[in-house]
């Protein structure tokens, strides 16, 4: 495919899009589907047909529009009006009001605090495109970055852009993406692999799922650009099998991209070839750990192994492997298109760009948000999230899932970046953000996460296998208010030992929720210590 051809296709799709006077985009990502958004789509289509407006008004099932808690969400264009909690019976009103004043009772004003402070980079096409139609994505710039990279840039130039952008791994640890890519690029291996980690598993996290459901092409494009940059020809996307809709849309996207020649052999008539396959996880959290994930793709039991060697040196089937998270790959195309300088200008100096968070728990506005790094927790929770419902008081925000920690009131003005969150004893993590109010017992929260880690430990190394179970039993004593001071001492020793000696990240970080709640809410633990009593 030459530039003219590509431009022609894109232009044709844009023209098709513009031919409609009105667009009604209804979210059909999982949250809104659960609220019945598919019925809304049907009702709107029926209404349009009845009025004979098929050629004027286009109804599109799109990806996530953000405010998942108030679904189904929809947006009209070019009016730029959001509607929330839409019912099929609202169809007539919505169409009546196209191009006029919005329907008041379901209107979600553009100036709602939910939108203030958000910036969509990763999700720029989510809610605009039909995730099941590549044509729709092309109209909004999909694969242009790949085209640019593969036909106009050298791999070194691509690497330079990614490195200069300051992008860091969005899976949680924040390893510099450019450094990872350069390492794989430098490896002298005839076969290299690209792996996309879509095994999102933190409780309360649904960022990657939303990206897969909303804009699967963005992921494929990022992977292909990575493959071009590091010299890989094969790619795998590892997705947890529970993400049915995401998998279905990724499958479609891969097929469509292959058909268009954006994946496969001789992409854009260049010598560059790249094929992508899907692999489904069978429900083990630990498979999100990169070495376990690789073992799982290989068809083995999903157990982690000691690093080094890192996957960059010896990964899938012993070959050099680049493994990044879904959101990391989803950042690549905008970086190539807009330049590293643009990206580095977003966020903070050390944590560039935006981060997608899944805001959930005791907060007024639950949903998927994308914010520039450096925004404070308070801005997210009180501004975008609208504070705590039912007049309760904020108690803590949990970030980083079972590997993270709970951050209390006094640190709400901390900027969200990798280092600041780590200093507070939590981590950025993949983007789960669970808000808790004053009714939450922090000891119970700690036990909840420990139970999660205990259930999800693979059992390979002793500290994680036994330590999580031991800590869970101790925490249960606290929850039951039967703990002793010796239990507290032992719990703290176990936290230290398990974090220091476990084989992989799961075990090393499993004590984090306990350590952070001990740090900020020690009183609650002390209150659970039973008074020494004389046994009868």
């Amino acid at each position: 495919m030459h530039r003219e051809e590509f431009e022609q296709i894109v232009q044709a799709e844009r023209d098709k899009h513009r031919a409609y006077e009105h667009h009604i985009n209804v979210c059909t990502a999982l949250g809104c589907v659960a609220y019945g958004s598919e019925k809304v789509v049907d009702a709107l289509e029926a209404e349009v047909k009845e009025r004979g407006l098929e050629h004027k008004c286009k109804i599109t099932g799109v990806g996530c529009l953000g405010l998942c808690g108030n679904g189904p969400i929809m947006k009209t264009e070019p009016d730029n009006q959001f509607y929330q909690s839409v019912k099929p019976s609202d169809s007539a009103d919505i169409i009546d009001h196209l191009g006029k004043e919005p329907v008041k009772r379901i209107h979600l004003p553009q100036n709602s605090p939910f939108f203030i402070g958000q910036q969509r980079v990763v999700l720029s096409n989510a809610g605009k495109i039909d995730p099941e139609e590549i044509e729709s994505a092309l109209a909004f710039g999909a694969y242009r970055a790949l085209f640019q990279a593969a036909t106009e840039m050298t791999p070194t130039e691509v690497l330079r852009e990614v490195t200069a952008s300051g992008l860091r791994g969005r899976g949680g640890a924040g390893y510099p993406t450019g450094l990872k890519w350069s390492t794989v690029a430098k490896m002298d291996d005839t076969i290299k692999y690209i792996v996309c980690n879509g095994d999102e598993g933190d409780p309360g996290a649904f960022m990657d799922r939303s990206i897969m459901e909303s804009d699967p092409h963005r992921i494929l494009e990022g992977m292909a650009i990575a493959a071009y940059a590091v010299g890989a020809t094969e790619g795998y996307i590892y997705v947890r099998a529970e993400y049915g809709l995401g998998i279905q849309r990724l499958k479609k996207a891969i097929r469509q991209a292959e058909k268009m020649g954006f994946l496969g052999n001789n992409i854009f008539d260049s010598p560059f070839s790249f094929n992508v396959q899907l692999r489904l996880g069978a429900g083990a959290f630990v498979c999100g750990e990169e070495t376990a994930l690789i073992a799982s793709i290989e068809g083995q039991r999903g157990n982690p192994r000691p690093r080094p060697p890192y996957p960059a040196m010896s990964g899938l089937w012993g070959h050099s492997t680049l493994i990044n998270n879904v959101e990391t790959f989803a950042n690549i195309a905008p970086i190539i298109l807009n330049g590293s300088e643009w990206f580095a200008g977003i966020g903070t100096k050390k944590s560039a760009g935006t981060k997608v968070f899944a805001l959930s728990g005791k907060v007024n506005r639950v949903g998927l948000i994308e914010v520039p790094m450096g925004i404070t927790l308070r801005q997210i929770i009180e501004g975008i999230g609208g504070g705590i419902p039912d007049g309760r008081a904020f108690k803590a925000v949990q970030t980083g899932g079972p590997s993270g920690g709970c951050i209390p009131q006094e640190h709400l003005d901390t900027p969200v970046d990798y280092e600041s969150l780590r200093e507070l004893g939590s981590i950025m993590g993949s983007g789960g953000m669970v808000i808790m109010d004053d009714t939450s017992s922090m000891v119970s929260v700690a036990r909840y996460f420990m139970e999660f880690c205990m259930d999800e430990s693979c059992g390979k190394c002793i500290p994680c296998r036994v330590g999580t179970a031991q800590m869970h039993e101790l925490l249960t004593r606290f929850v039951d208010k039967e703990a002793t001071e010796a239990d507290l001492e032992l719990l703290e020793e176990l936290c230290d030992m398990v974090s220091q000696t476990s084989l992989c990240g799961l075990g090393q970080s499993a004590p984090n929720p306990v350590m952070s709640t001990l740090r900020y809410f020690r009183d609650e633990y002390l209150q659970c210590i039973a008074p020494a009593q004389e046994p009868a």
Partner: protein, 237 residues
């Protein structure tokens, strides 16, 4: 030619080929490091975490069995912190199973028991879990008592890497994980087991044993492994 690295273990100057591990060089120099999952001749898995060492300049502890030597590295094998962690690991093993040494076939010949003695574990502060575990005595020659299994996976590896049968593997996860024969069939019904008995010989505890052995009678011999491995390499050459 394989480059040789010189470095320090506990202040002692040592050298090793670049494909050798810290553990191998420590053993070569009579520096004691406790291990349970590791056994010479099988691929290291870094699972038991007993051989963790400190390396100057790194804040992470590293498993000596799975860490290659590096020029100039300074390894500490026996700090107070490491001793504490090691004792805790042994305590964990004692509480997660039902290790009743006094009635065990391997009493007196058990690596777990011996390490507990050596590292001074005379009781545990952890909570005994008293799990309900199975015993498979279906096989006519051998038996497995899961109460005594520490999941070192030596049996899994010797069966796959040396015997080439891959009868053993791990099923379940976390505290529920256990070694199984074939797809969790009784041992006697395993279609892949060659009855070679290597798994029994490498098992560090009394989990795998020959039938008809009474208390303290099951003496293991894992020393044949390096020989078998070398012979295989010669065959393949």
């Amino acid at each position: 030619m394989m480059p040789v690295k010189t470095f320090k273990i506990d202040g002692q100057d040592v050298s090793g080929r670049e494909d050798e591990t810290i553990l191998e060089i420590a053993r070569e120099n009579d520096i004691f490091l406790p291990t349970l999952c590791n056994i010479a001749g099988l691929k290291p898995v870094g699972a038991c975490r007993l051989c963790m060492v400190e390396v100057a300049g790194s804040n992470k502890l590293l498993p000596a069995c799975a860490t290659r030597v590096q020029e100039g590295m300074e390894v500490t094998t026996n700090s107070e912190r490491l001793q504490k962690y090691r004792r805790m690991i042994l305590e964990m093993l004692f509480v997660e199973g039902n290790h009743i040494c006094s009635v065990c076939v391997a009493n007196g010949h058990c690596e777990l028991q011996w390490l507990a003695e050596k590292l001074g574990v005379d009781h545990t502060r952890l909570n005994y879990m008293f799990p309900a575990k199975e015993v498979d005595v279906s096989h006519y020659r051998y038996a497995i008592d899961h109460n005594r299994c520490i999941l070192c996976t030596r049996c899994v590896r010797v069966c796959a890497e040396i015997e080439g049968a891959h009868t053993w593997d791990v099923s379940g996860r976390g505290i529920e994980a256990k070694v199984v024969t074939d797809l969790n069939t009784p041992w006697a019904l395993s279609e892949t087991c060659t009855e070679c008995g290597k798994c029994v010989q490498v098992c560090p505890t009394g989990a795998l044993f020959k039938k008809s052995r009474a208390v303290g009678e099951m003496v293991k011999d894992g020393q044949f492994l390096p020989y078998l491995k070398t012979m295989r390499e010669v065959d393949n050459a």
